[in-house]
Symmetry: C2
Subunit: 221 residues, 2 copies
């Protein structure tokens, strides 16, 4: 029993290294594959119910006349999100992770092998609804975007600085609810600035469409 525990403890460290190493390798391959086909890809992360799917729907509504878009939906179970985006005429790939709390680069690598990437120009990857775990796993995309919502209360940035540090852009979603919730968006934005003074922050409402066009410009789309 003691022997077994001792072995496991040692191996645990090796595995974590190996897992992260394998992830970084797969991410590099994904980045190369996407680049080769001229595809721009976005990893959309955020907690449960921050409106990631609705944001992707809003972006697709604006962009589907201009680009051929593919959406990857990461979820533990169900095809709810993929179905919602598919209803806008967008091709989708469902990645069900079972119990895994995040997508990793190897899942995306497998998924990329299953589609004809030469057909598409933009890929939106909706990560598993989780503000913590996806942040540490590169997928090999062009931009890692964190979606936070004004419904999550005032402390989510201060509690999750690493998520912001790993991201390239932060979207404050559901801005239409600020007044009814009495939420202080400026305070939230200065929490973000405290972690990363230069990260682009956009305030949007996927429901009313506020801020979506400005966001699209910032994404160079």
């Amino acid at each position: 029993m003691t022997k077994q525990q001792k072995e496991s403890k040692t191996v645990n460290i090796d595995i974590r290294k190996d897992l992260f190493g394998a992830n970084e390798n797969a991410a590099a391959i994904n980045a190369e594959t996407l680049k080769k086909h001229g595809v721009i890809a976005f990893d959309i992360m955020g907690s449960v119910g921050t409106g990631k799917t609705q944001l992707i729907e809003a972006l697709c509504e604006h962009l589907r006349g201009k680009y051929r878009i593919l959406m990857f939906a990461g979820d533990l179970a169900t095809t709810i999100d993929a179905d919602r985006v598919a209803s806008h005429g967008i091709d989708t790939v469902q990645i069900n992770t079972g119990t895994a709390c995040h997508l990793d680069a190897r899942m995306i690598k497998l998924a990329l092998q299953k589609v004809d990437l030469s057909y598409y120009q933009v890929v939106f990857i909706e990560n598993v609804g989780n503000l913590i775990c996806p942040a540490g796993y590169s997928l090999g995309v062009d931009k890692k975007i964190v979606v936070v919502s004004v419904t999550e209360g005032p402390y989510m940035i201060r509690k999750h600085p690493l998520t912001i540090k790993h991201a390239d852009m932060v979207i404050i979603n559901k801005i239409d609810l600020v007044e009814v919730l009495g939420f202080d968006v400026d305070a939230l934005e200065s929490d973000i600035r405290e972690v990363d003074a230069k990260i682009p922050v956009f305030r949007v409402s996927s429901t009313t469409g506020e801020g979506i066009e400005k966001l699209i410009k910032a994404l160079n789309l």
Copy 2:
């Protein structure tokens, strides 16, 4: 390289078993320790911003004249939640997990060793804000309570059935926002019932106090 990957793959399975085994062992010890001191303990789980802290604050406001309460606050960083509950005159223990996305039984075991448990009667453990990862880890408490919020959108139960399966009770929080959000609570409750027909479900607002006394009765407090 190939050899290394092969080894790691095999060991990975062993480690998961060992980790979960070690957690179950620690959970059993925690349960025994709590029982020995006549302490009732609750593991409060839920995604970021579902109002776990505010719920614990509301419960403490009602119960602090009746019981000696201890609160464990699990978070990646900061003491924000512990400080909020401490402001109600409640003793608190902060457990910062660093990058770990959930509390486990061994963290609680360590924390229980640092307090004089004979002094307390009720322990509230606020888990890390995450709807996925905490569900799989028993802490050795009396009840695992999942807090969901009407601000999380309509699909969180269907996407996270395992979290409900692992829980003893579900609290639908922020019920005061149902009207402004146009949220269908009955549909949410029937999603919960579909996963577990018998699990107790309570609708509360920690802001207005609606449902809190009924919840306290159901907790036998």
